[in-house]
Amino acid sequence: MDRTGTPLVELRDISIAFGGVKAVDHVSIDLYPGEVVGLLGHNGAGKSTLIKILSGAYHKDSGQILIEGKEAHISSPRDARRYNIETIYQTLALADNLNAPANLFLGRELTTPLGFVDDSRMEAETRKIMARLNPNFQKIKEPVSALSGGQRQSVAIARAVYFNAKILIMDEPTAALGVHETKMVADLIQELKKQGLGIFLISHDTREMLELCDRVSVMKNGQLVGTERVEDVTEDDILSMIILGKNPKAAA
């Protein structure tokens, strides 16, 4: 793993508070092309909040976001998409009453020359990408409320992958999935890594994180406990960082 060049993403000294609670407290992390960085921590540790600042859902109170070395101003999800940042949310963020193509292209519809939405072309594109991601996916025309958890997940993933993301944020991508579908997500992460994407991965599953990630950052109470390369730490080290909020290596 080459970490000598310019990082793809650099979050510097990010803080955000809700009321009096410091949800994210002076956190700095970075991400290189072709790298998977895992964010770990208890519920309420601030992982999701930190990541939502990068995806434009929240506004940071202070700190800097650098994309490929240049300062980026992200104040809405639309801004984030302009920097090729795509997010798969824990809640999947799908409109249940719409079908898969409408969800996949939501906010970025393909249109005809007259400016009307081009449903047939979007359906055809959806069939193409689904054939690659999840060949079992058949219910293209049905509202996504009629789909299983895994199928809904593949719609959410397809949405992130289709638009040539450079930076991918995955918030608990396997939380609702069965064994087979979890494997599918793991394979996909490996494939996207090879293509040079940078991926932020949030999960509770420490073992899974050690398998999928190149580095892990642990947060507790809004603060960064530490960032370690996975080859340098054991599962126990990570667990003690999560629970005690202390980095055993830094203490040593």
Partner: protein, 440 residues
Amino acid sequence: MTDTTTTQTAPKRSFLGQMELDLRLLGMIGAFIAICLIFQFLTGSGGFFERLADGRFLTPRNIFNLTIQTVSVGIMATGMVFVIVTRHIDLSVGSILATCSALMAMTQTMYLPDWLNLGLGHAATPWVAILVGLVAGTLIGAFHGWLIGYLTIPAFIVTLGGLLIWRNVGWFITNGQTIGPLDSTFQSFGGINGTLGETWSWVVGVLATAIAVGAIWSARRSKLHHGFPVKPVWAETAVSAIVAGGILGLVAMVNAYQIPTPRLERMFDARGEVMPEGFSAGYGLPFSVLLLIAVAVVMTIIAQRTRLGRYIFATGGNPDAAELSGINTRLLTVKIFAIMGALCALAAVVASARLTNHSNDIGTLDELRVIAAAVIGGTALSGGLGTIYGAILGALIMQSLQSGMAMVGVDSPLQNIVVGAVLVAAVLIDIIYRKRLGVR
């Protein structure tokens, strides 16, 4: 053995299933037809078939009146679909209608003649008045939308306030007086005072049939082009035939409604001619109905074929997802309520033109009729679901219930009790239907 069973699981589909018609739409059309037949039976006399033949409900005259009475509520109901689909409500539509109507009436009878010296009956009068009304309605709606979207006041509260405010702004503008008679061109949007005549009605009917049938078949071609499954040719043909029959049947009905002879004589007099002996003519399609159809077509295109419509339904289905997908949901709210306001203004044109004057109580309780029409038409208050044609059918069902009961001589309080019960029952049936289908 297992292999053979799996190959045979190609879905066996029923007759109606193959037509791929919306069951909810079929249900509503069925309810409408049932209502028509019941009142036809009750208004007739004699035996069963005699009653069905000579009832007063399905006469050209009543069909004509039914359509023009539906227009005002129907126009507003199409806008209410967007409002309810995005999980809002608009209680102020009847009052906005009143304010727009008051403004348009005053523009015609006072502002233009007195301030700009355009006499009564000047060619520009009706168009300036309509423009004033549309601008006012759009601005009021947009203002409501801004309060709801940007200042995050609940729509229920904003429009409840609007219900009181705009009703009385209308009163204030006119000092509570009835303003009329309105400009004669303006009146032609009301129904009976502006119709196409028989020949042009047939032209419009045939054109509309050609467009509708053409659309059905071009959609089929587009599906085939992309290699998607299509329904069998006989099913497409059957649907086309039903659509054509419906359109041309309506034209035949309104053409059969004869203009009374004294009125025809006056029309000939106005042109300085003498009416030939035995001359007769039908009314044909009213302009107001054409206006409703145009509104329905435009609103359906917005709902199904534009980004605006896609965002409206996405926001209704999951507001958070819409926001995270980069949709500006606040501005969207402003747009939705602005459309609603503009449609209230259009409805005000039709309503005041039909009465030939503006009166203080115009549009009273219309908000409830409009919401009921949208809900009977299958718009879910939980958001994300609803159709334009459903809302118009809902308005038509409500209107036919009400005029039918009036014709039969049901007491006024009982009429309202029945309409209220039908509203609740319609929603119950919808809930049961959705549960059966496993749809949310």
